[in-house]
C-alpha cells in the first residue's frame, strides 16, 4: 500500500519535471511581457517534431534536445517580435493579445496536423531496462529527465540571481518603465526573454515526447493546460513558484492515477488549481494597472 504511494510519488516527480521545464519558460515569458501565450503548446510540439526529425535521421537524442531548444527559441522570437509586437502597436490589450495567441495556436496545431499527415510518430530513444530502488521502479531516462529539470532550474535561478542580465530581467518584470528609466536596454531584454522562454519551451517539448515515447500534433495542446495551471499557481514571473506548483500538480495527478484510476487523474491536477483559486484568490487577482503589454 505504501509502496504504491511511494512509486506514484516518484512518477509524479518525473511528470513534474516535464511540467516544470515548460512552466518555467511560460512564467518568465508571461511575467516579463504580460502576454498569456496560448500558442506555447504548439511551439512545444514544434520543438518535439524538430527533435523527431533529427533523431530519425540518425543523430543521437542529445542533439535532439539541442535542436528542439533552438527551434523553440527561434520560433518564439519570430512570433514575439514579428506578430505580437504588431498587435501591441495597434493598441491591443492583454485580452486581445491572448485571443491572438489562441488563433496562432490553432494555426500552428493544425498546420502541424497537415504536415504530419495527422499521424502519431513513435519516439523511442534512450530507452533501456528499468531498475528497482526499493518499491520504486524507474527507467534511466526518467532519472535523466528529473536531472534535466533540476539542472535547468538551478541554471535559471543562477542566471536570475547572480548575473547582471538576471538582475535586468527581474527589474523588467517588476516595473518595465522604471527599468527603462534606469538605463536598462529593454528591447534587448525582451529579445532575450523570447529566446530564453522559447528554448525552455522547445526543450520541454522534446523531454515530453521522450517521456511519452510518441509525438503527434496534439502533444502540446493536451499538455498546455497543466503548464498554464502550474504557472498561474506559482505566480507569474517566478520560476521557483512554477517548480513548486509543478511538483504539486505532478504528484497529485499520479497519486490519483494510482488509486482512483487514470480516468480522473488529469482532472485532479486541475482540481488543485480550482481549490487554490477558491482558497487563495490573491494568486490570480492582479491590480487593474498591470494590464499593459511590455513588448518593446
Amino acid at each position: 500500500m505504501l509502496g504504491t504511494l511511494v512509486s506514484a510519488i516518484a512518477f509524479g516527480i518525473v511528470l513534474a519535471s516535464v511540467i516544470a521545464i515548460a512552466a518555467m519558460g511560460f512564467t518568465i515569458q508571461f511575467g516579463l511581457t504580460n502576454v498569456l501565450n496560448l500558442s506555447y503548446g504548439g511551439i512545444m510540439t514544434i520543438g518535439g517534431f524538430a527533435a523527431y526529425l533529427v533523431t530519425s535521421h540518425g543523430l543521437s537524442a542529445w542533439y535532439g534536445l539541442g535542436v528542439g531548444a533552438v527551434a523553440g527559441a527561434i520560433v518564439t522570437l519570430l512570433v514575439g517580435r514579428g506578430i505580437f509586437t504588431m498587435y501591441a502597436r495597434r493598441g491591443a490589450r492583454v485580452f486581445e493579445m491572448m485571443m491572438v495567441t489562441l488563433g496562432l495556436g490553432l494555426v500552428i496545431d493544425y498546420g502541424l496536423q497537415a504536415l504530419s499527415r495527422n499521424n502519431v510518430y513513435e519516439f523511442t530513444v534512450l530507452q533501456s531496462a528499468p531498475f528497482r530502488l526499493g518499491p520504486i521502479i524507474l527507467t534511466p531516462i526518467q532519472v535523466i529527465i528529473i536531472g534535466i529539470g533540476l539542472a535547468l532550474f538551478a541554471g535559471l535561478e543562477a542566471l536570475l540571481r547572480l548575473t547582471r542580465i538576471g538582475k535586468a530581467l527581474r527589474a523588467m518584470a517588476a516595473d518595465p518603465a522604471l527599468a527603462r528609466a534606469c538605463g536598462i536596454r529593454t528591447r534587448q531584454i525582451i529579445v532575450l526573454t523570447w529566446l530564453l522562454s522559447g528554448a525552455l519551451c522547445g526543450l520541454a517539448g522534446v523531454v515530453y515526447i521522450i517521456n511519452s515515447q510518441s509525438v503527434g500534433y496534439t502533444t502540446g495542446e493536451l499538455f498546455l493546460p497543466l503548464v498554464i495551471a502550474a504557472a498561474i499557481l506559482g505566480g507569474a514571473g517566478s520560476p521557483a513558484g512554477a517548480v513548486l506548483a509543478s511538483l504539486l500538480m505532478g504528484v497529485v495527478t499520479q497519486v490519483v492515477a494510482a488509486y482512483g484510476g487514470s480516468l480522473y487523474s488529469t482532472a485532479a491536477g486541475f482540481g488543485v488549481l480550482v481549490i487554490v483559486l477558491l482558497s487563495r484568490p490573491s494568486a490570480v487577482l492582479t491590480k487593474q494597472a498591470n494590464e499593459e503589454l511590455t513588448l518593446a
Binding site: 491591443a92 486581445e96 488563433g103 496562432l104 493544425y110 482532472a267 483559486l277 477558491l278 490570480v284 487577482l285
Partner: protein, 339 residues
C-alpha cells in the same frame, strides 16, 4: 434539385444554431465583457441531456451505449431540459470561475475548464458513452406526415422560430437597464461597482442567460443530427464562434448575424466545394489554419468588426480598445434623481 434543397435546408439549420451561439457569446463578451472560452461545453451539455432524455432507458435495443439521465420524454420536454441543463452548468461553473481577475486569466481558466470537461466525458464511459458518444437520437417532429425533404425545411423553420424569439428577447434584455449595466461593467468595472452595481451577480446572471441559450442551441442541433460525441466539441469550435462575432462586429446583433453567415456558414461550407488536394483530411486541417489566420487578420485590420458597435455620443472618438464613458449607459437608471 432536391439535393440542393436538402443541402440548403441543412445549412439553414446550422446557421440558426450558430446564430444562437453567436447571440449567447455576444451577450456575454460583446455586452458584458465576460470571456467564455468554454462556450462549447454548455452547448454540449444541452445536446447530451436532450439526447439522453429522448433516447429512453439504456437497456434492450439501446444497451450498446450507456448514459445518465436516461428517460423517454415526449417531444418538447428534452429541449426544455437541455436549456435548463445549459443554464445550470453555467451557474455551477460561473460560481467558482467568475472571480474578479484579468480578462486574459479569465479566458485561460475557461479554456482549461473546457479541456477538463472534454477529458472527463471522453474518459468516463458511464456518463455519455465516452469517446463514441450518443447516437440514434429520435427525430422530434417525426409524427408529422412529411416527406424527408419537407421535414428538413420544417425543422429549419422550427430552429428559425427559436432564433427570432431569442434574438428579440436578448435585444430587449440588452436595451433594458440591465443591459446598460452590463455595458457599464464591461467598460468601467470599478466605476460601475462604485455606482452600486453588483458586479459578481451581474456576471453570474449574464453567464447563466448565455448558458441557457447555449443549452437550447445544443438541444436543437442534436435533435437534428441525431448524434453527439466528444469530437464535436473541441475548444476550436468555441473559437469559430468567437471569430464570427469579432468579424461581424461585437456588441450589436446585426454584426452577429453577418459574422455567423460569413464564418461558420459560408467560409466553412465553401471549402466543401473546393477540389480536395493532398491526402484525405488535409483540407480539414487547413480549414482550421485559415480560421486562425482569419481571426488574426480581422483583429489587425478591423478590430471592431465589419459592423462596429454604435457607441453613445459621449463616447465618440474613443480608441478601438479603449473604455468609454459610463454615463450614457446609466442614463435612465439614475436619470430620475438627476432630473
Amino acid at each position: 434539385m432536391s439535393a440542393w434543397s436538402f443541402y440548403l435546408s441543412t445549412l439553414a439549420v446550422y446557421f440558426g444554431v450558430d446564430v444562437l451561439s453567436g447571440i449567447s457569446l455576444n451577450l456575454q463578451y460583446g455586452y458584458a465583457g465576460v470571456v467564455n472560452l468554454a462556450y462549447i461545453i454548455f452547448q454540449s451539455v444541452g445536446a447530451y441531456v436532450a439526447a439522453a432524455t429522448a433516447l429512453g432507458p439504456d437497456t434492450g435495443a439501446a444497451a450498446f451505449q450507456h448514459y445518465i439521465f436516461a428517460a423517454n420524454l415526449p417531444f418538447p420536454v428534452p429541449l426544455v431540459l437541455a436549456t435548463l441543463a445549459g443554464g445550470a452548468l453555467a451557474g455551477i461553473v460561473g460560481l467558482f470561475s467568475l472571480r474578479r481577475m484579468r480578462r486574459d486569466y479569465q479566458g485561460a481558466i475557461m479554456l482549461i475548464v473546457s479541456l477538463i470537461a472534454l477529458q472527463v466525458v471522453t474518459a468516463d464511459v458511464s456518463l455519455f458513452n465516452g469517446s463514441n458518444g450518443l447516437t440514434g437520437v429520435p427525430k422530434p417532429l417525426s409524427w408529422l406526415p412529411l416527406s424527408p425533404l419537407a421535414y428538413q425545411w420544417v425543422y429549419a423553420g422550427w430552429v428559425c422560430i427559436f432564433c427570432i424569439a431569442v434574438y428579440l428577447l436578448v435585444r430587449w434584455l440588452s436595451r433594458s437597464p440591465w443591459g446598460r449595466a452590463l455595458k457599464a461593467m464591461r467598460d468601467q468595472e470599478e466605476a460601475a461597482g462604485a455606482l452600486g452595481l453588483n458586479i459578481t451577480v451581474l456576471r453570474l446572471q449574464v453567464f447563466v442567460v448565455g448558458g441557457l441559450i447555449a443549452g437550447l442551441s445544443g438541444g436543437l442541433l442534436v435533435e437534428y443530427i441525431g448524434a453527439w460525441s466528444p469530437g464535436a466539441w473541441g475548444y476550436a469550435e468555441t473559437f469559430v464562434i468567437f471569430t464570427a462575432i469579432f468579424v461581424g462586429g461585437l456588441g450589436n446583433y446585426r454584426g452577429v448575424v453577418l459574422g455567423v453567415l460569413l464564418v461558420p456558414v459560408v467560409f466553412l461550407q465553401v471549402t466543401q466545394f473546393l477540389p480536395q488536394i493532398g491526402y484525405p483530411g488535409l483540407m480539414d486541417s487547413l480549414e482550421w489554419v485559415v480560421i486562425g489566420l482569419l481571426f488574426m487578420l480581422c483583429l489587425l485590420v478591423r478590430p471592431r468588426g465589419l459592423l462596429p458597435e454604435r457607441k453613445p455620443l459621449a463616447a465618440e472618438g474613443s480608441l478601438p480598445f479603449e473604455a468609454t464613458g459610463l454615463l450614457p449607459y446609466l442614463g435612465r437608471r439614475f436619470g430620475k434623481s438627476a432630473a
